[in-house]
């Protein structure tokens, strides 16, 4: 009896749901470790996480948006803007912590604009954020005159380079914390549920007393803020603000979310899935680099990975539906 309830618990846990993803990740690590001994080392794993950190923050925002049947194409541009903006602030002598907050604030501001375009002008999320992608990128170039802005402030640089116990870099710690908090919010809070409901059926959500416009606004504030935060941390890591940074970042983040099981039909997806999706994506890229595969192949590999994952997902769903049907045939006839 006790055993069976435990079995049930495991069966229903989030990890069981992601079992095929976890297996894929293990196979991937085994594969690259086999060809390059250095791959299987804590140092390399930390490097992978550091490489993830920029995309990871954005992926949390994108995952929630995709679940709610929304999207944010402006995240990469917002991150780039935040690198330049925070660099300029720091160079002008603004307190580094305040600079970080203002960079996050600039991201939230773009999020606010995105939400207003969608809520009031009724623009498609794709179109609204496409426009903001262009505007934010342009703004990043304008405020620095197109040139990278160097950062000399040691405190600010430490945001990107400080290592806890000389091992764990601060961005990685922040990333994992954000994933934990983001996952908790999505799974357990009123807001998280509203996100699923909005993506599941926005009209039904409205009839049930939820406020779709408010949820949309909060989601874009979050997505923008996270992109701004990621951008500021990137600036700290690079010692400079660069308007050319983070091109296509939003697409990497969306890829991670979709790999992790978020569906563009809305209502489906988890933060845990995105986390694993992100690890697979970055683990793959890093592995290819360590095997000295030409860098262009990474793009091909990333796309192929997505197709393989979704094809696998499709076949699994088809199988499941078939089983469902035969079961119900049995119950009807039997």
């Amino acid at each position: 009896m006790v055993l069976s309830t435990w079995k049930n618990k495991i069966k229903k846990s989030d990890f069981a749901d992601k079992i095929s993803l976890i297996i894929a990740l293990i196979v991937l690590v085994a594969f690259f470790s086999f060809f390059n001994k250095n791959y299987f080392s804590s140092r390399n794993f930390i490097n992978i996480l550091v490489a993830c950190s920029l995309m990871g923050f954005v992926a949390i925002g994108e995952t929630k948006l995709i679940i709610a049947n929304l999207i944010d194409l402006s995240a990469g541009s917002v991150a780039a803007f935040a690198t330049v903006f925070s660099a300029i602030l720091v160079r002008a002598g603004v307190n580094p912590y305040l600079s970080l907050l203002l960079a996050i604030g600039s991201g939230c501001f773009v999020g606010l604009l995105n939400a207003m375009l969608i809520n009031y002008l009724k623009l498609q999320p794709f179109i609204a954020t496409l426009a903001m992608m262009s505007i934010a990128r342009g703004a990043a170039y304008i405020i620095c005159g197109g040139r990278a802005v160097p950062i000399a402030n040691a405190t600010f640089i430490s945001f990107g380079t400080y290592r806890l116990f000389r091992v764990l870099p601060l961005p990685v710690i922040l990333l994992i914390l954000t994933f934990l908090v983001g996952g908790y919010i999505l799974k357990n809070t009123f807001f998280g549920r509203s996100v699923y409901a909005l993506g599941g059926n926005s009209y039904a959500a409205r009839l049930s007393g939820l406020n779709p416009e408010m949820i949309t606004l909060k989601l874009y504030l979050l997505s923008g803020g996270l992109a701004g935060f990621a951008g500021a941390l990137l600036a700290a890591r690079m010692n400079s603000g660069q308007p050319t940074a983070a091109v296509g970042l939003e697409f990497d983040a969306i890829t991670a979310a979709v790999l992790g099981g978020a569906a563009f039909t809305g209502g489906v997806g988890t933060i845990l899935g995105t986390f694993i999706g992100m690890l697979i994506l970055q683990g793959f890229n890093t592995g290819l680099i360590m095997l000295n595969v030409q860098i262009f192949w990474q793009n091909v590999a990333q796309g192929s990975l997505l197709i393989v994952a979704l094809a696998f997902d499709y076949l699994r769903k088809k199988e499941r539906n078939k089983k469902l049907l035969t079961d119900s045939m049995k119950s009807i006839n039997g």
């Binding site: 908790y184 357990n188 049907l325």
Partner: protein, 501 residues
Amino acid sequence: MGSYLEFKQINKYFPGVHALSDFSLKADSGIVYAIVGENGAGKSTLLKILNGDYLPDSGEFFIDGVQQKFTKPSEAISAGVSVIYQERQIILEMTVAENVFLGDWPCNKAGKVDYERMNKETEEIAKSFGLDIAPDVKVKSLSIALQQMVEVMKAVNRNSKIIAFDEPTASLSGKEIEILFKIIRKLQAEQKVIFYVSHRMDEISQIAQKVVVLKDGKFVAMRDQENVTDDELIRLMVGRPLGSVFQEIQSEREIGEVVLEVKNLTTHSVKDISFSLRRGEILGFAGLVGSGRTEIMQALFGLDHILSGEIIYDGQRYIPSTPTHAIEVGIAMVPEDRKTQGIMPNISVRGNITISILRKLLNKFKSIDVQREEIIAQENIQKLSIKTPDSDKLIAQLSGGNQQKVILARWLVTHPKVLILDEPTKGIDVGAKAEFYRIISECAKNNIAVIVISSELPEVIGLCDRIIVIRNGSISGEVNQTSATEENILKYAMIDLQETK
């Protein structure tokens, strides 16, 4: 030289439903076969097998003696089958001719579409129908009726041997129906096999020679139209009378004090609506689709802007602003269209039930109390006997009736004082309907004031204490249960009594 169509022992399953069960039928050319049956009897499944949308799970069917196995609609079209749906399969932004030749546009050698030929042939078909439709206008500029004719023209152009109509008159006026019938008779004279799916008995008696009755996915009977009465057809369709259910639920209900009073309510779609509703009462709203029934409820639920008028709710003035507000004061509404307005398909049964009370499920850490949520879900699954293996199941995997029960549960958990049900039994089978009627009456017994909007007159008459009839956005009449008949409700719903006076 007629063609014929034969179904042999066709079976089709969906999760939880045996949609067609050993269905066999032989249909000859030059005859119009009416296909009748309750919602969910299997009519649309049959049509979808015919047009290649669904592959039967077992059984065979033949056209002119040749076995057919359609895996997609294009194969059905080339085999000479056209199914004309209620939801028109036309492209509004294209011209009439482009639609008539949809997917089969004639081209010259260079691959350029031959518009001249296309327009000419389209015009000829229109003329043969006696219709004045220009081939080069966009379909979106035509009336709904003419759009439907474009569908028929498409079938004729494809030279289809078998033409099936699915509720073709649902959106047509009397005169337009006559034009359609003329065309159907012409097709009949041309020795086509014709299926005509409809709910309307009077039309069936005008156009069909044979009537095929389906029930629960099974072939029940085929009768000559001349020799069958409406009563007999209904008896065959329903199988068991719902009357006894209604009698049973009418007994012993106490009607309490007034909980909702609407005075001269006017919005953009309705005007001067006044009525009152008591605790424990079931109040029906009848009227044609689009008459404004739903719009009144939307105003009460904070979905429509109120221009003038007053609502007294629970003794106080009530100005609904948003659905959130309506839910807070104790009004609940099960919307008309389960698919687009009700279910969240990718979400579990549990999540679909508790979405309306999430705020009340928060614990002291501001997160959702999952255990309490599960208890509430289980309670309701049992109370409404929702057929699902567990509360984790996605709602999309349940049958229509069970989905509707989940939506009802979503609202019952808010403990409403006023429960508004818009077409609560639309698209669910007879058995589930009876269950719904019991649940609705149970709600009324528990002192909830219930409003039922329905297009099915036997349902409003059997279920409701009073029936308000809406016509053109105003109340055109009110009848008591004892005096209600389908005739007097229809009279209020359709005829302008002011004018006839």
